[in-house]
Each structure stands twice: as C-alpha cells, then as structure tokens.
Symmetry: none
Subunit: 140 residues, 4 copies
Amino acid sequence: MALEFRISTGSSVPMYRQIADQVRRAVARGKLAAGECLPSVRSLAEQLVINPNTVARAYSELAKDRLVERQKGRGMFVTGRKIQKIYTRSERLRRIEQPLEGLVSEAICLGCPASEVHEALDRKLKLWGVVEPSTEGKGA
Amino acid sequence: MALEFRISTGSSVPMYRQIADQVRRAVARGKLAAGECLPSVRSLAEQLVINPNTVARAYSELAKDRLVERQKGRGMFVTGRKIQKIYTRSERLRRIEQPLEGLVSEAICLGCPASEVHEALDRKLKLWGVVEPSTEGKGA
Amino acid sequence: MALEFRISTGSSVPMYRQIADQVRRAVARGKLAAGECLPSVRSLAEQLVINPNTVARAYSELAKDRLVERQKGRGMFVTGRKIQKIYTRSERLRRIEQPLEGLVSEAICLGCPASEVHEALDRKLKLWGVVEPSTEGKGA
Amino acid sequence: MALEFRISTGSSVPMYRQIADQVRRAVARGKLAAGECLPSVRSLAEQLVINPNTVARAYSELAKDRLVERQKGRGMFVTGRKIQKIYTRSERLRRIEQPLEGLVSEAICLGCPASEVHEALDRKLKLWGVVEPSTEGKGA
DNA sequence: GTGGTCTAGACCACG
DNA sequence: GTGGTCTAGACCACC
C-alpha cells in the first residue's frame, strides 16, 4: 500500500511541505520505489480533508525536483532518480544543529526539564517510525 | 560587555524572535545576570539598523514571559527567576511541539538513527546547563 | 450574528486589548463556540475603523493564549479547550495581581467594606459562570 | 507616626499615583489630620528608594487638588478640606464595577478557580488594612 | 531619557 | 482570500 500521510494543520511548516516531505522520505527510504505512483491529487485531498490545491502544490514541488513525473491522464510516478544522498554522521550532526538549537532554546525558555524534552522527542520519533541505529541511514 | 546581537534579515525566523531568542540564551547561559538591563529599544534598533518597533516587539515577548521586567522610564531589567515555572507541563509540551517536529523532520530526511538525535540533544542540553541531563530517553 | 465589537478610543486600556477582551468574554460566556471563527483582521478593522495591525495584535494575543487558532489562509478559529490550563497557579496569581490591585485601590478610596467587594466579586464570577462560586473568601 | 508607604514598582499604576493615592486614603480615613505634614520629598524618596522627582510629582498632584498645601521652607501640610465625599453603597458598587470586570475577565482567561480569586482579593485587602463593615466607609 | 500604542502602507507565504 | 512581518513616523505617560 502506498503511504500513510500525516499532516498537522497547526504546525508552522506549511501543509504542502509536510506532504512533499513525506513523499521525499518515503522515496529516500525505499518505501516508494521507482515507477510507483502517488495517490491522485483529488483522492489524497479527500483523505486528508484539505484543499486539493494544497496537494497539487506539494506534487508540483516534487515534480520540480524531478523526484516524480507527471504522466498526463495517469498520475504522478516516482522517477528513478536518487535524490537523497547519503550523509556521513558528522554531516548529519551538522545539519541537525540548527533545528536542535531552536528546540533547546525553546525548552530552556519554558523551563522544561531535560527528561521532558527527551520523552517528547522519543514519542515523536516513534510516531514517525524511526527505528534504531544500524538498519537506518543508508537509504534502506 | 553587554551582548553582541546578531540578526540575519534573510532568515525565515522573524527578526523580533531572533532578538528575543538571543536574550533568552544569554540569560540561560548566565551571560546576562539578574538585575542587568537590556540595551534600550532605540539604541539596539540603531545598532542593528532596524526599526525600533521590531526591537520593542522582541522585548515585549520577553516581558510577557517574565524573563525581563520593564521599569518605567529606566529600561528593561532581567528578572531574578532562574527558570520560569509559568507553564503547566501539558502547555510546555504543546509549545515544544513545533520545534520538535522541525527537528524530527530534518533528522528523518537525513536518516539519523534515533540514538544520534538523542545524543545530540543531550549534548546540547548539557551545554546549556539544563537540569537532569541524566541517562534518559536513549532507548528509542 | 457573530459579535458586536465596541471599542472606545479614549480609554486608557489599549484598543487591541479591548478587542481581545471582548473575544475572551464572548468565549467565556459561550457566545462564541468552539470551532467558530472570528471576523477577518481586515473586515474587523474596517468595521471598527481602525488599523488592521491593531486587530492583528489583538488576535495574536488570543492565539498566544491558545484561545483561538490560526488556520492558514482561512482565519482564526475558536479552540475547543474550555478553560486553558496553561499557567501554573503561581503564574496565575502573578497575573491577576495588577487588576486586583486596581480593584482594591478603588475600593479603598471609596471606603468599601471588605465584604462588599467580595460579594460584588462573587456575583460577577457567578455571572460569568466561573467554577466554585461557593461560600469562600468572605471572612476578611 | 505619619504613614507607612508601600509602592510596587512593577504595578501598572504609576508610582507617583500610588503615593498620592495613599495620602488621599490616609486623609480620607482620618489617619492624617488637618495641619499634619507629609514627609519631605527628599526623605520619602530616600525611604522608598525612588527618584525624588517621583515623590515631588505625587505631592504636586495632591497640592493641585488642594488636599495639601506647600508652606515655603517648611513642607507640605494637610489642609482642612474634606475631599472625600461619602458614597452610598450603590454608588460604591457602581464605581467598583469597571475594575471588577477587568479582574474577572483576566481571571476567566487564566482559568482561575473562584476560590483563587477570592483568596487573592482577601490577601490584598488585608495588606491594605481593610477591616470589616460597620467601622468603615464613613470617613472614619 | 525610557517603553507602549497606534497608524499608514508595504511585502510575503499560505490556501 | 487569509494572517504575519516589517518600516516609517507619530503621540503618550512615566521617570
């Protein structure tokens, strides 16, 4: 089965980007193979109870990145392109730095104990199905 | 020497928030002690070459969070309270939600294993001197 | 009929706060139910013949207090939460401090006996449907 | 002994007004009789650790109201004027209405239980030395 | 001198 | 269409 989309309307990251990101991740992790197709704009919009324009915008972004190709009258299909290069550990850490800082900064300001932040992080990671070390980070 | 403010006008995070965050961090790290005062709205605006209103907005946010107190006609002063116990736990969790989501989203895109994120978080928290760095949250 | 906003430009309480307070009361009294939306920033500004920024500021305050949620591109919607358990008890007390002082100051000037103030407070609280009107606080 | 002044620098009501109000109350309640003198600007400023200008301003306000008279080189003296007229109960209630509404509005927004507000009110009244019914409200 | 409020008008991202 | 951000410049109260 294709994908399980999850969007949070309250988030600061726009919905169209949440959708696009989820497709990117799925592709990067091999959950969505080359040649597979995305759900139609209309059906996904219906499923997520959002405006079809929003889904369309997400798809456009993916198409612009050549991650997906529009086949007239048939839908959007995952291209073979491997867009997600593999990062070294130090590179990953470097890239995580900024959002991490943002999180910690907020946590400090709120007076969160460290355990609270870790637990919240844990829940979030699990929610997204992040598993443990070795099997990960190599593009599945 | 008071503080060295830096703002990047191109960032997606608004300037008023950049300013506020820098103060928050300075306080958290003890660079700005209780009783010290912030630069005046006008002077900081001049220094950063931005509109005084923008600085004022940043300061209002800090005052709202009780991190700083306005003394009429004298300026804004850092309050004594170390860590504000202003919000309930559930509210704190609600408020970390967004930056957390940003972090996790990035981490997933990069293929970080859960432990890596937790460790990075831990280092950061310790760096900022957050209570209870402990051994928690590593078991994803 | 949505709401009837009234603001007095001459008052010492700023307009943005007058607006925010009216929404708060409307919500508290159930005149504005969960899920309902506020008038748009621009339309309310037009209706009140004030600057949209002023309305926006009022709305931001409400959003900050989680009384209302912004749905991008759609407007501000009243959240479900009845009474926000956002603040800790000590923070709540700190926040009533100022209006309390104003009330007591006035009461003293007028020579109100303590019981009179308590009774008036009680009536008001009951009027707004605040929990636990009970028999409390009368023994000055 | 003259008076015990209490000012809170964090309050929204300006310090000069807090001082003036306290004199007004003292006169109204007979704690300060005609002919008695106020502490000197300098000494009161010192005692309260505030700017002498602030005390001077408070005194000016009182002088403007003819509650007190400046005697060159000697100080400020309470005049015989009875400035505090006696209010009927309904009049008192009417005048208390607005600040009361402000308090309740804030309390509601914060989710304070009624008891919390009553208790806070009680503490405040006691702090100001408000005693019970009958002996009050008649200008002592 | 300080910060607070408001206005006018502009630009941007999102849906 | 929605709200968010920023700028420019004004006025006010307070110290």
